[in-house]
Structures are given as C-alpha cells and as structure tokens.
Symmetry: C2
Subunit: 552 residues, 2 copies
C-alpha cells in the first residue's frame, strides 16, 4: 500500500496518541499525520505527576516529554492543541473539531483514524464537590494546580479519597511536603487489585509512616469556608479536617465520541478492539486508556489503563494504519507502585480474582531475601503466588517488600505470558551473584514452596485463613516454634510454644486428635515443624505460610 | 518405594551436596543420609568470598551457612568432614573413604549415591607457581589465606591472572583494600563469555577505576624473594611487580573419582547426566559443578559451574534418589557480575557463540534508561540482543551499565526459557511506574530496535563492525548527527558533522554513491537520520547501533 496523500488523523495527544503519531511517521514518510487534542499540553508523563507534587521531580517541564514544534520540525506531524474532536462521521470519514481558542468549527477528513481519547477521573456528584482545593490528578493542568496549592504552604491536612495506586502515591508525596494525610477508602482494604492479606501489609507500612488510613468508610459530602475552599470531609462515620482533597476513586474511559459515532463499546465499557487495535468500523482504531484489551490469563476482555500498554497499543495501531501488520495480544494487569519504602506489585490474577474466575486455586505466601543473606543491605520481600491446581500453571503473583520487587514481578509477568507452570518457574536459570539474589532467587524459593503444596507434599495455610478459622471459633492448636526470645518478644495470642529444636522430643505435649497449625517468623521453621509432626504420626497438621511476617 | 533402612551417600558438602542432603531428608524422613567431604568446612558461600576479602562482608562466619551439627540435630544427617572419598565400587555399591584426620580407611555401602565433587581452579604448571602469596580462590581455606595476606598490610601490588568473573570481582575488592591491581588476560578481551564489544565497555570502566588491564598477554613465570614470596609476574611482554597473585584462569570439574569408577564423562569433560541427574550407572547421580548440563538454546551439552544451578540440581537428584520424580532441563548460561559501579550480565548465547552455532544472527545494541528519564537517579544501561534471523527468536542478551541490569537479564532468561520471539518480548506486560522503568521498559525498547532490523525496516550496524570497516580501509562516510556542542566535545575521527535538525535541508552535502553510516550519542537520532536519508533517496545508508555509548 502506498500512503501518498493519505491522511492519518489521531484524536488524543498524550501517551498512546503521540506514540502512534511518531511510529506512523517512521513507518510512512509520506503519509499526512495530524493529531488533535483538547488539552494545552501533549506528550506528558501522567505517571510522574505525584513525584512533581512531592518535589522529587523539581521542574514541571520534565514531565513534558515533547512539544508540538518538535513533532512538526522533526516528523512533519501537525499537532493541534486546544482542538476538541466533537463528532466522527464514519460514513464520510470526517471528524468535526472545535478550535477551543478561536471557538471555531473545523472538519478533518481521514483515511485512517486513531482514537486515543484516554480516560478521566470519576468525580462523584457529592454535595460540596465543587468547593476549592478539591482536586483530581490526571492532566497537566491538574498537577500544576495541586502543586501551586501545596507550594502555597497553607495545607496542613489533606484527605485522599480512594486508596488505590494514585491515592497511595499522592499520600507519600504529600507527606514528603510535610502535610498530614488521611486516606479514606470505601472498600475494606486499600489497593483493591491486591488480595486483602497483601494489601494489609501495605496498609500497616503506610500507617507506620504517619498516614491515617480509614477503610470501609464512604465520603458523603464536603464542607467549606466562606471563601469557598474545602475545610471538612464528611464520611459515613467521621468528620475529617481537610485543607485539600485529592479525589482518586477511579477513572473511566472517554468513549462518548466513539459511542456517538456508532463504534462498539465492549463489556468493560471501554472501546472494543481486536488484536490489530481495530474497532468495528473500518479504518478506525482505538488505543490507550479508552480501549479495551484481553487478559492473557483468562482470555477475557479487560480494561487496564496504563501508560506502558498505551505505548504498545500506539505502535501496533500505527503499524497497521500505515499498511503494515502487527498485533497486540493483551495484558496481564501488571502493576507496581512505590509506597514510601515499600514496593508493591502484581501480575496476573489475585487469589480472589482467580477464585472468581472459577480456577481451582492453590496459593502460597513466602517471605525471602532479595539478595544473598550475607550480603549487606539485603532486605526481605513477601511473595504471594497463585496457581491453578489442575494445570499447575501459575495464575498470578503479588509481591510486597522493602527489597527488590520489580525484578521478581517482571520475571512473573514474562513467565505468565508463556503460560509457565510453577515447576518451570522453579527451574528458571536466573542471574545469581550475591549483590543481586540468593543462589536460589526468591521467586524460585516461592515456586518451590507452592510446588510442594500443589503436589501435596506439604499443607500450608494462608495466615488470613488461620485468622478466619479463629474468628469462626474453630478448635485448633496454633503452635509457635520460634526460639524462647522470639516468643517472648511477641506472639500470636492463644498460641502454644515449643521451640523447633525441642519439638521432636516434646510431641507428647500435643494431642493428635486436634488440628495443629505451626508458625514461625517467615514460614521455613513452621514447615520443618510440620514435617517433624507428620513424621511423628500427627495426622492433622498444617503450617502457616509466611507466618508472622505475613500475619496482620 | 519405601526408604526404610536405605542409605543415601553424598560425596561433597558445599552447595549441591548439602542442598541434596537437606532436600532428601524432607522427601524421606526415614532414609539414612550421609555426607562425606574432604574439606573442613561445609555449606559455605563460595560466591561471597571476594566480598569478604574486600571487607564488604566483615565476618568469615557469615560465609558459612550451616555447620555439620545443624544437619545432625535438625535433619539427622551425618556430615563427615575431612573424609575423602577415594574410590567408588559400582558393582558392590560401596565407596572407600579416608578419614584424613585419623588417616584411616573406611568403607560405606550405599543404595543411592550422589556425586557432588565440585570443581577446582586450574593451576598452570609455570615456573615459580608454588611461591608464597600466589593464591587461587575456591575453598574456605583459600579465602582465609587471602584475607590474612591482605590484612597483613604489606600488599601494595596485586596481579590477577585471568580477567573472568572471579578475576574482576577480586580486582574490585582488592582496590577497595587500597591495593594497586593489574589484571592480565591471555585473550584479547576480558570476560570471555561476553562479546568483545560489550566486554570492552567493562574494561573501560575497570581501567577508569584505576585497575591496569592487560589483554593478549600470557603469564610465563613468577619470581620471588629470599623468603620465598612472590615479587614479580613475568609475562610474554612485561615484568609486573606483585606482592600477591590471584590465579583465576578458570576451573575444571572434579571427575577423577567418577571416571575411575567407570562413570561416563561427557564431551564437556564434566560428568554426563540425564535430566533426572542420573549418570550411566544405576543409582548414581551427579550434581553441581562436577556435572554436565544442557544449554536450553542450543540443546547441546554444556558445562556451567554455578551455585544457582548446583542448588537446583541438588533438589532434583534428591527427589529422584528418594523415589520421587523430577527433572532439570538445562541452563542458559545466565551470569551476572558486579564490577565496581557497573553491572554486567548475560543470558543465552553471545553473538560470537550464536554465529559459531550456525545461526543466521541479527543483533542490536541499544542504550536505554533504567527508569523514567525524568525520575531522579535514572541511569543508563546498554543492551545487546542477539536473535535468529530465520525464526526471529531471541538467542541471547548481554547487558552492561550502572543502571538496573539484573532485572532485565532475568526477564530475558525467563523469555529464553520459553523460546520467545523478539516480537513477543516487545509486547511483554512489564511493571511500569517511574521509579522502576520507562513506560516502555529498556528491554522492550531494545526488542523493538532489533525487531525493526529483523523485519528489514532499518539497517543498523554494530559499532565494532564500523571499526572493522574503517580498519579495512573501506570507503564510507561516518556522519555525526549530534548537536554542535556535542560534536565539539569529542567525535569519532574522520567523521562528517551535520546536526539532525539540519540534515533534511543539507542532504546535498552528501554523495549518494557513497555508503553513509550515521551516529549520535545513543542511536536514536542516528536512526532518525537514517530515515531522513532513506526518505531523501539515499540508497546505501546504515545507522550505528548504540553509537558513541557503545563505541570503544
């Protein structure tokens, strides 16, 4: 196909749109390429915004990767800012565009159209929502407003509504600016994509850093002062003082333009596309935060708005729109967030999601060092692996810790892409030297622990399930097998204590008719105790995965 | 199978042997398990030794993970140190063992035998080799001697013979102790497993840190003083002063015991095993540094002595020897080494190895940031990817840089395990947030660059190939497209300079009959210049991969 005189029109000028424009130009030197965006800024780094507010990034210009002039001069791409696409006519292949500066209506014809309209923050219609100093964080103008408000020096108390990724990033960065922060989350846990047990580890850390975290409480309204600025957040249960409010309750895809044009919307409410990023309408593509994807573990449609996905979708759409052929098979919902000293990541399905999808789920929680234990500055991470009992394939992982987490989640994401079994993960030839890993990397150790559970060699039980049993009033012995000193420094209420090295000689203290659940600091000695008891003939024994380290 | 009264004998008490012993006990509570080793210490961390010499690890006890008493008390495993296995009788299933302390011969019967005799340093029989203060680094007694020598405070000059991983780790750690270090390498590059172009980046860094690096020079002999201590290393070309010499010219597997017993040795000269870690002799297994493996990319036998592999082999042999079933499919030759501020890693095949194996090789060198470029402390890494032109599968990767390297090599190792294509790697859903990666991770960027080369969209040329062309006196234009300032601060001799933003309007300065090779700082602008020239009708254009950053 020759692209001479053909016109590629792109609606949207942030991650997906500008990536598509630049890639299209590399693919086709002759095609006419136009980008229209209603925003003033293009090509900015949305994910970097919290760090500009926290003054980790000093200059807002650093968030803007490219200016329109760069695209004009370097790539002969026309980027029209403050130009809002208002209607797509798929029959005549025309887009109506309003020049917002001049309030003038224009019409652009296209041969190929890429829709990259992004997503927008959900703003619940609560009383007082339009008071001053209530912000969402999505666009450059959002971030400049929040930064100015913080720089004003009058914000003592901030309330963040929503304990998701952006909420927690904002919590950290506002604390860095000396502000007292409260996070209010409607659900019974922060970080909803994670399982509750892992999210609780994060919540504990955030609270230790001085952030108040309130779960299971909903914001009802906001109150302000005479100058119209917010002063109070009123929830179902509380009145919280607030000089500033960040709304981070979620985002929704911008699909109105597409929908009105007759373009199919998917079950996820984002624009439906195939793996070539084509919509149901010929020559119209959708990419980035407004487009749907496929979950590589479930094979089902999923909507995951992430900059990394946007960039990949942008490339694929550009290649196809310029006459080439490329596909984007889907995502794993991989995510990572830095929360103070903690790194928090997920790939694939959580235990809760896997159960909901109907898998026969086995999972394990395994604390492990991120480097050789004798190497200085080795830190722990806690890995939760989730697998399918039937196929023994990994379904997902969640990792939390002060040690190196991103490496392990990327190993998992790569393995999930290829449908790896837990056994295959345990045999990976990962790079080993003391500054980088244990001789068996933390991921391999975790896979071995889960493998033992899958093959029935051991019976581990997740800490939250032990807590549930206790809450239900079930009769079982919780056996602490740590040393005398560790036990005295704190233990789980109601436990029995026999140190591991005395266990073999003191089994007579235990009743074989009772269920016994062993625990230690991180799970290793609990598993050894499990074996000692099994070998001694105890029939109903389990050990607590992750033990104290994963107990919240 | 019941293991009651069965005896598992293990020869060797370091990584593989002790891992096998501990795992066997977990698999079988009743089997009798005995470990014999001629060494005084067991279960020590060989890979940590250089860091003890450098005083990064302060206490030698930290290198010893477990004592024999631990195995006796916790696992009822008998560990006999200073007991040397001298002969295996595979017919009567007996092993002759000499108690080195009491100089007494013993005989042990076995039902299952695991050979984990490890490897030993190659000591070339050169004149003066037995002078004082000439060391190898392999065992606990080696490391204690070297540390004592350094602690003595009289070592001003050290010569390291061999520029491999251990040689470079030792170079760094001796520099940390204030010693002037010279590395002598017989080959024309340090780090022989790497391609020369990547190794040269490391060599440059090491030399900047004050280490003298001599390549293409062989050690002939050593001279000493009246008290028998080394003073001089004499090479083919030089006399080097030396108060201490570290020999790190390589290791060889300890196979004598196995060979004399009639156990098959493989083409790699290590003990031949199948994927169950079984030798050709029934009930005899071999694991760790004395055993062969399979290269997962070539499918051919390979010998890679690494602690991480030893641990995995130990588990597999233990499971099989106790009546279970497990397999170890092979390795990727994954390696990583910290060299001062540089992280250096490899997985799969180098370009040189891939060519030698007969693959149709395409490769790319791509510098990229390890985090979002606007995030503080983002550092560069340089990625070399090697692929098969026919299948478009990745064959290997080498990564060097001050940024995060281990994560990327582990992603590659995982992808190689599953036979990933370059395209699949470019679509991986890796974890993205500014503190961890660019929105398209460095590995994805590199895969995209290589993908463009594989599909013929761009024509990149590796820097070393440009140097070869120049050395051959070929006629071509080397075109620097960086800014005026960058050009004035240093450029490749004999280049022509046209800044990228002027290139489109100054193409008349170039001769279409000549080959043109563009370069910039890291390759991105060189690739843009390539496209501008191609679009302007130039027929014979290439761009230099990695450009100045990869030019040595």
């Amino acid at each position: 196909m020759t692209n001479d005189n053909k016109h590629l029109l792109i609606i949207g000028g942030v991650a997906a749109g500008m990536k598509a424009a630049a890639k299209a130009r590399r693919e086709s030197p002759t095609m006419k390429i136009t980008v229209v965006t209603d925003e003033q800024y293009i090509s900015y780094a949305g994910c970097g915004m919290p760090y500009f507010i926290g003054d980790i990034i000093k200059d807002s210009k650093k968030l803007i990767l490219r200016e329109p002039l760069y695209f004009k001069n370097m790539h002969t791409i026309d980027v029209l800012t403050r130009h809002q696409a208002t209607a797509i006519d798929i029959k005549s292949k025309q887009v109506k565009v309003k020049n917002l500066e001049k309030n003038k209506d224009l019409t652009f014809g296209y041969d190929k159209l890429i829709i990259a309209t992004g997503a927008q923050p959900i703003v619940p219609p609560l009383p007082g929502i339009s008071l001053g100093n209530i912000f969402t964080l999505r666009t450059m103008s959002d971030v400049l407003k929040i930064r100015a408000c913080v720089d004003g020096g009058k914000v003592k108390n901030a309330v963040i509504v929503g304990g998701g990724l952006i909420g927690l990033e904002m919590a950290e960065n506002l604390v860095l600016r000396g502000i007292k922060v409260t996070v209010v989350e409607l659900l019974d846990q922060i970080l909803p994509p994670l399982d509750r047990d892992m999210a609780q580890l994060v919540q504990k850390h955030v609270m230790e850093k001085g952030v108040e975290v309130i779960t299971s409480d909903g914001v009802k309204s906001f109150e302000g002062n005479s100058s119209g600025a917010v002063t109070t957040v009123i929830t179902d249960k509380r009145h919280l003082p607030a000089d500033m409010v960040i709304l981070s309750v979620g985002i929704k895809p911008n699909t109105k333009l597409a929908q009105e044009a007759g373009i199919d919307i998917g079950t996820t409410r984002a624009i439906k596309v195939n793996e070539r990023m084509e919509t149901n309408v010929p020559d119209v593509y959708a990419i980035g935060d407004c487009a749907e994807s496929v979950h590589l573990v479930t094979g089902k449609p999923v909507w995951m708005a992430l900059g990394s996905t946007a960039a990949k979708m942008g490339r694929v759409a550009a290649i196809n729109a310029t006459g080439g052929a490329d596909t984007f098979k889907g995502v794993l919902g991989t995510l990572i967030v830095k929360v103070f000293e903690l790194h928090v990541a997920k790939a694939g399905l959580s235990e809760r999601e896997a159960v909901k999808e109907g898998f026969q789920v086995e999972s394990a929680i395994v604390p492990a060092g991120d480097k050789a234990h004798y190497y200085p500055e080795t830190k722990d991470i806690i890995i939760k692996l989730i697998a399918d009992k039937t196929t023994k394939k990994l379904l997902g992982a969640e990792i939390v810790g002060e040690g190196i987490v991103d490496k392990r989640i990327d190993i998992i994401a790569t393995a999930l892409t290829f449908g790896a079994t837990v056994d295959q993960i345990s045999k990976l030839d990962l790079a080993y030297a003391p500054p980088y890993a244990m001789s068996m990397d933390a991921i391999i150790v975790a896979a071995n622990v889960l493998g033992n559970k899958l093959s029935g060699k051991t019976a581990g039980i997740l800490p939250y399930k032990v807590a549930e049993k206790r809450d239900r009033g079930e009769d079982f012995v919780l056996l602490d097998v740590r040393t005398e000193i560790e036990y005295k420094n704190g233990h789980i209420k109601g436990c029995k204590h026999i140190p591991l090295d005395k266990l073999a000689s003191r089994t007579y203290e235990l009743d074989n008719s009772q269920e016994i659940i062993t625990y230690c600091r991180a799970g290793l000695r609990a598993a050894q105790a499990y074996r000692i008891l099994k070998n001694a003939g105890f029939r109903n024994v389990k050990y607590m995965d992750g033990s104290i380290m994963a107990w919240t």
